[in-house]
């Protein structure tokens, strides 16, 4: 069976090749001269479920390991350790790479498959360094068994460190924290914080734990001491009662990916976490940008009247937000004047970090930043790479990295 592509990029389903799919992106990279400055993608993904059997080998608990391995057999139809989300990310087949990706063959060589396929799209898009995150595990925070969240994320982190990050300098990651267990969260930072390629830690935002709970303070203190940023990654959850009122995936996706980050950011600021840990750097992922000026205006306005309810604050909520970092994708580009104002209020030139979210359906190419008419060349290069190089202290020896201003 052949894909309905062009004559000159014709390929059979079993020959699906990301490089061909992204040929236009590669042309953009050439035309815009991406070889002249570093591009860092602070939020990209792989499908860890395609390497699940490798990951399960890193499970410690022998009973859980047997359960998981039995469930991963092809005939184990109803056995599943991982929770999944209801949703239609592939738009009913309109985004064909969702169905074809798992069939893609890695190029010959020593690279692990996820590494090889990730480098394939990075090369096409023009990304030098990618911060790599999982995909199905973004929902692990609502798994009904906390012990499964801990065990699976520890196995994943070990696999990622040993099989991916240890070997590939172009890939780094912020490692998953099992936030439903504060003690395990703390132990994870101690266990993985100094591993090669670990540039921070990640909280998958879709969960129901308040970030200001006292049990997390020692983790924040440790992260601050180690100089490692913490990131919150948006996602959706159709079983959430509020999102359950929405009847179409477009609505769940549009609101869900912002909703949890809005809650966490509100708790983070109003409870004065930035005052308690002033050197802890915070990064918000995959919520786009339009929510930020909304939060700034909403909370500044209320704080002026209800100051006594947030006594820890020494400046406006928006001032704390301007100290934070935000990833660009999925960047709302339907009104450039609004986008320009948004970038102004968040100090984009120093606080905004380019992210692609590739290979997910709403990925953004570097051109979404580079082609913006209101940014000068310095701002573009900072957003596309320079800010991330500084935030993550990337010292990978690349000639391009040395060109960061």
């Amino acid at each position: 069976m052949e894909l309905q592509l062009s004559d000159f990029r014709r390929m059979a389903v079993e020959e699906f090749d990301t490089s061909k799919l992204l040929a236009h992106a590669a042309r953009q990279a050439r035309e815009r001269g991406y070889d002249k400055f570093p591009i860092v993608d602070v939020d990209s993904h792989h499908y860890e479920n395609e390497s699940l059997n490798e990951i399960l080998e890193y499970l410690d608990d022998p009973v859980l390991k047997q359960l998981a391995l039995a469930g991963s057999k092809p005939n184990a139809k109803n056995a599943r350790l991982m929770n999944t989300m209801v949703g239609y990310q592939d738009m009913g087949g309109r985004i064909p790479r969702y169905a074809l990706r798992s069939l893609e063959k890695a190029p010959p060589g020593k690279d692990q498959r996820d590494v090889a396929l990730t480098k394939r799209w990075m090369d096409a898009v023009g990304v030098d360094i990618a911060v790599l995150f999982p995909t199905p595990m973004l929902a692990l925070g609502v798994h009904p068994q906390v012990e499964i969240e801990i065990a699976l994320s520890r196995a994943y982190n070990r696999w990622l460190c040993e099989r991916v990050l240890a070997h590939e300098p172009r890939l780094v990651s912020m490692l998953y924290l099992p936030f439903n267990d504060p003690e395990a969260t703390y132990e994870f930072v101690k266990e993985f914080g100094d591993k090669k390629g670990v540039v921070g830690f990640l909280i998958t935002s879709t969960r129901y734990r308040p970030v200001h709970a006292n049990q997390y303070m020692k983790t924040y203190a440790l992260l601050e001491e180690m100089g490692l940023p913490i990131a919150f990654h948006g996602s959706y959850h159709w079983h959430d009662q509020a999102q359950g009122m929405l009847n179409r995936f477009i609505s769940v996706h549009a609101l869900g990916f912002v909703w949890y980050n809005m809650c966490h950011l509100a708790n983070w600021i109003i409870n004065g976490i930035p005052e308690r840990f002033p050197k802890l750097k915070v990064l918000w992922l995959e919520s786009g940008l339009a929510w930020i000026p909304f939060m700034m205006q909403r909370f500044d306005n209320e704080y002026m009247m209800r100051t006594s309810e947030a006594p820890a604050l020494k400046k406006l909520p928006s001032d704390y937000m301007r100290d934070m970092y935000f990833a660009s994708q999925p960047m709302e580009i339907t009104d450039l004047r609004l986008l320009e104002e948004t970038m102004r209020v968040i100090n984009a030139e120093t606080q905004l970090l380019y992210s692609s979210d590739y290979p997910h359906w709403d990925f953004d190419l570097p051109s979404t930043i580079y082609d913006l008419p209101f940014l000068n060349e310095t701002a573009k290069r900072n957003i596309l790479g320079g800010n991330a190089v500084r935030l993550f202290n990337l010292k990978l020896g690349s000639e391009k990295l040395a060109r960061v201003a």
């Binding site: 309905q4 990029r9 990925f363």
Partner: protein
């Protein structure tokens, strides 16, 4: 104005498509309901190869006489090709973006000469 050969008409089946090139210019040519349509293979969103995506009929809501929602169906009239990068949908017959008709792909004239089909590239 220069011509680009697309195909022998007899070899270009109804519902099929071709992508032809001249230099870096790529043009998608569709054979749809007895006519030929040609557009630049460059999505207005982020530059994806929009003419290379799947073809699907427009999705429509079905309402009852009392305006209640009764389900959905595929249009009998309107078909879209869908950019494989992000899902932008374009009307095959007009090149208009289905979500915003003010946006339209760059069209090209298609000319039949004898048994052959050409697009006229500026």
């Amino acid at each position: 104005m220069s011509e680009i050969f697309v195909a022998k008409i007899a070899d270009f089946a109804e519902g099929d498509r071709r992508i032809v090139t001249r230099g870096e210019l790529e043009i998608g040519v569709f054979h749809w309901q007895g006519k030929f349509y040609a557009y630049e293979n460059l999505c207005l969103h982020q530059g994806g190869p929009c003419c290379e995506g799947i073809i699907m009929h427009k999705v429509e809501d079905v309402l009852g006489t009392d305006k209640s929602w009764r389900g959905q169906k595929f249009s009998d009239e309107e078909a879209h090709f869908v950019c494989p990068w992000h899902g932008y949908e374009y009307d095959i017959k007009t090149g208009e973006c289905a979500a915003n008709r003010r946006l339209r792909l760059r069209p090209f004239d298609v000319v039949q000469r004898g048994d052959d089909l050409f697009v006229m590239a500026a």
